[in-house]
């Protein structure tokens, strides 16, 4: 089905077994990686906050995650009375499955030969390639959304509505920055994307997409992915101070663990996708021995850099406010990525057209910025819609207490919400 050489001579039993082994290895590796990632995150964040962190189970507390997992397995599994039982049970799986499936298209190494069969070191290499990432990340919305709704409780519902609005908003910017990569590669397949980034400029600068595309799509993609993952500073979905635990407030035991498994698995997978799309995947310096090993090490090294980056973001940045989140997504990321995709397309034609479009985009940006600032000043600010609409009318107040006089202060230019920030 895919472009993998493995299938070029038809599907025999050996080929079938190789595919099964690849799936199992990928699954096991991802599970172990999640375990280590949770430990890594807790250790690094502890270090940043001057704490020690987990240090009891296993060497340097490495087995703490395993202990927590076993504990969660044996805890009581509560299903709230008001919940929609079927959907409540379904939601954790809907979050977990896309997280694993996205990893299947990530090339983690070069091309190897096992038992006389040449194969690519990735579970699947379908022609639709990177579109699969977009498809699966749009499926991931369902898990969070349905988890919140089916809990039959207020805070999870607020969390899930926030999450789905956030994920849909940032999916557009994410898709547009992926499109720039596809434009310059000329193929959707992740293997082709990685192959096209091999080689160097001036024989020492790597020809990675982060440089070939200008750094802009990379930054947009990283921000959009962070929002898509609901990780800090975009974790409004969970927002412990406001929403108890967001969409998973009502979950307990292993279902709760599955949400966290999915979150960390998604973090790893998306770091791997960033590496694949913009940093050449397994590309890197290859000494002339152990050819199969170096690409894997390069890939792992680059992924770990991004994993550390995510932990760092969590340690360093405060959570965004909801209106800031929406403004960043719709007013900043989407216009920039739209303009950049046009510039990249024009650069593919020739340089004059590319720089012409760059100038044009800058002019458009100035216009857009001016129109937005006019829109902000006209008083029709977004946070007006956040004002409660159920405050009593004069007539209602009279009904409650007939002898009361309603004193109404004059409308101020800022709404009560716009001033306070956390």
């Amino acid at each position: 089905m895919g472009a993998d050489q493995l299938f070029s001579h038809g599907v025999t039993l050996a080929v079938f077994l190789i595919v099964i082994v690849k799936v199992l290895v990928a699954f096991a590796a991802l599970m172990v990686a999640v375990m280590l990632m949770i430990w890594f995150e807790r250790k690094v964040i502890s270090d940043m906050q001057n704490r020690i962190g987990p240090n009891r189970a296993g060497p340097w507390g490495m087995l703490q995650t395993l202990a927590d997992g076993i504990k969660l397995f044996f805890k009581e599994d509560l299903i709230p009375e008001n919940s929609n039982r079927f959907v409540f049970k379904l939601a954790p799986y809907l979050t977990l499955m896309p997280a694993f499936l996205i990893f299947t298209i990530v090339p983690i190494g070069g091309i190897v030969t096992i038992f006389g069969h040449t194969t690519e070191l990735q579970v699947a290499d379908p022609p639709m390639g990177i579109l699969f990432l977009l498809a699966m990340s749009s499926v991931a919305v369902y898990g969070v959304m349905l988890a919140g709704w089916s809990s039959g409780s207020k805070y999870p519902l607020i969390g899930s509505v926030r999450a789905s609005a956030q994920m849909i908003s940032y999916e557009a910017a994410m898709g547009l920055s992926v499109a720039t990569v596809v434009l310059i590669t000329g193929s959707l397949s992740t293997r082709d994307i990685v192959l096209s980034q091999m080689g160097t400029f001036f024989s020492f600068i790597p020809k990675w997409n982060i440089l070939r595309l200008g750094v802009v799509p990379f930054i947009i993609f990283v921000i959009a992915i962070t929002a898509e993952l609901n990780r800090p500073p975009f974790d409004l979905t969970e927002a412990e101070q406001e929403l108890v635990g967001g969409f998973h407030t009502e979950y307990s035991s292993i279902r709760f663990a599955m949400f966290f498994l999915a979150e960390f698995m998604n973090t790893i997978t998306m770091s791997a996708v960033i590496v694949t799309l913009f940093l050449g995947g397994p590309d890197g310096y290859d000494p002339s021995f152990l050819h199969w090993l170096w690409p894997i090490l390069w890939f792992l090294g680059k992924t770990i850099v991004f994993l550390f980056g995510y932990v760092w973001l969590r340690g360093a940045l405060p959570r965004l406010r909801y209106d800031q989140l929406m403004d960043l997504g719709w007013k900043v990321l989407i216009p920039i990525s739209l303009a950049w995709i046009l510039i990249v397309a024009a650069m593919q034609v020739n340089r004059y057209m590319g720089f012409g479009l760059l100038v044009l985009s800058l002019l458009c940006a100035v216009l857009l910025f001016r129109s937005m600032s006019i829109g902000d000043q006209s008083g029709e600010a977004t946070d007006i819609t956040l004002a409660p609409t159920h405050w009593p009318l004069e007539s209602e107040a009279k009904q409650i207490a007939p002898g009361l006089k309603v004193v109404r202060p004059t409308f101020r230019s800022g709404t009560p919400e716009s001033g306070g920030s956390k």
């Binding site: 639709m128 749009s138 709704w149 309603v406």
Partner: protein
């Protein structure tokens, strides 16, 4: 198409995929109209859309499969769910009375027509059960490359017209949604309805102090 022909043209794994995905699509389609809860209906619709995407992959129409999931499952049904959850229509609907007169007979007629149409399509030369081969036969490219070339050369004008139509629709929706709330409207609305309302007790002998306390809260 006879059963014998079916087995010779479709390989066995493909046949299993077809039967499984086809059944899932049918179950989902039935669930959409039979489920009592609107959210369950929407989820059943997702199942149908997914199964159809699997069938597309089986026919080597990979781009179509991805777009099916991204657009329909990822955007449109999510919007359905949004509306169901936010507008609180997740209650059982009264189905004794039809919103339109003669809706049921019309539905039966439409269903028969659609079934006839599907039957006609199945009997014509269009459904071969074979995967798409346009790409490989036109010079070793994938179907996606062929599709992209067709969309951006031969069918460029309809493609651009469709995208322009979509942008116009989005702008229209924004304009319609915003017309009700021009800046002056909002200011006057806030002044009359929902600004900081303070309720003060005035010297009124008819007023009991309890009421005043309660409305202060």
């Amino acid at each position: 198409m006879t059963g014998h022909l079916l087995l010779t043209t479709i390989a066995l794994p493909d046949l299993f995929t077809f039967i499984f995905a086809g059944l899932a699509a049918l179950v989902g389609a039935g669930g959409v109209i039979l489920a009592r809860n609107p959210v369950h209906s929407a989820l059943m619709l997702v199942m149908t859309l997914f199964s159809v995407a699997v069938l597309f992959v089986e026919q080597d129409a990979q781009f179509l499969a991805a777009v099916q999931v991204i657009v329909y499952a990822g955007a449109i049904v999510v919007l359905f769910l949004f509306v169901i959850m936010l507008l609180g229509v997740d209650r059982r609907e009264v189905i004794q009375r039809d919103p339109l007169p003669a809706q049921r007979p019309l539905a039966v007629v439409a269903a028969i027509l659609v079934l006839l149409e599907i039957g006609l399509l199945a009997r014509s030369h269009w459904s071969t059960g074979q995967p798409a081969v346009v790409g490989p036969t036109n010079g070793g490219q994938t179907n996606i490359v062929e599709l992209a070339r067709a969309v951006f050369t031969t069918y460029l004008l309809p493609f651009e017209a469709t995208s322009a139509l979509l942008v116009i629709a989005v702008l229209g929706a924004v304009v319609l949604a915003r017309r009700a709330a021009t800046p002056t409207d909002i200011v006057s609305k806030l002044n009359t309805e929902s600004s900081d309302i303070l309720v003060e007790a005035v010297a009124d002998p008819a007023l009991s102090s309890d009421d005043g306390q309660r409305s202060h809260q």
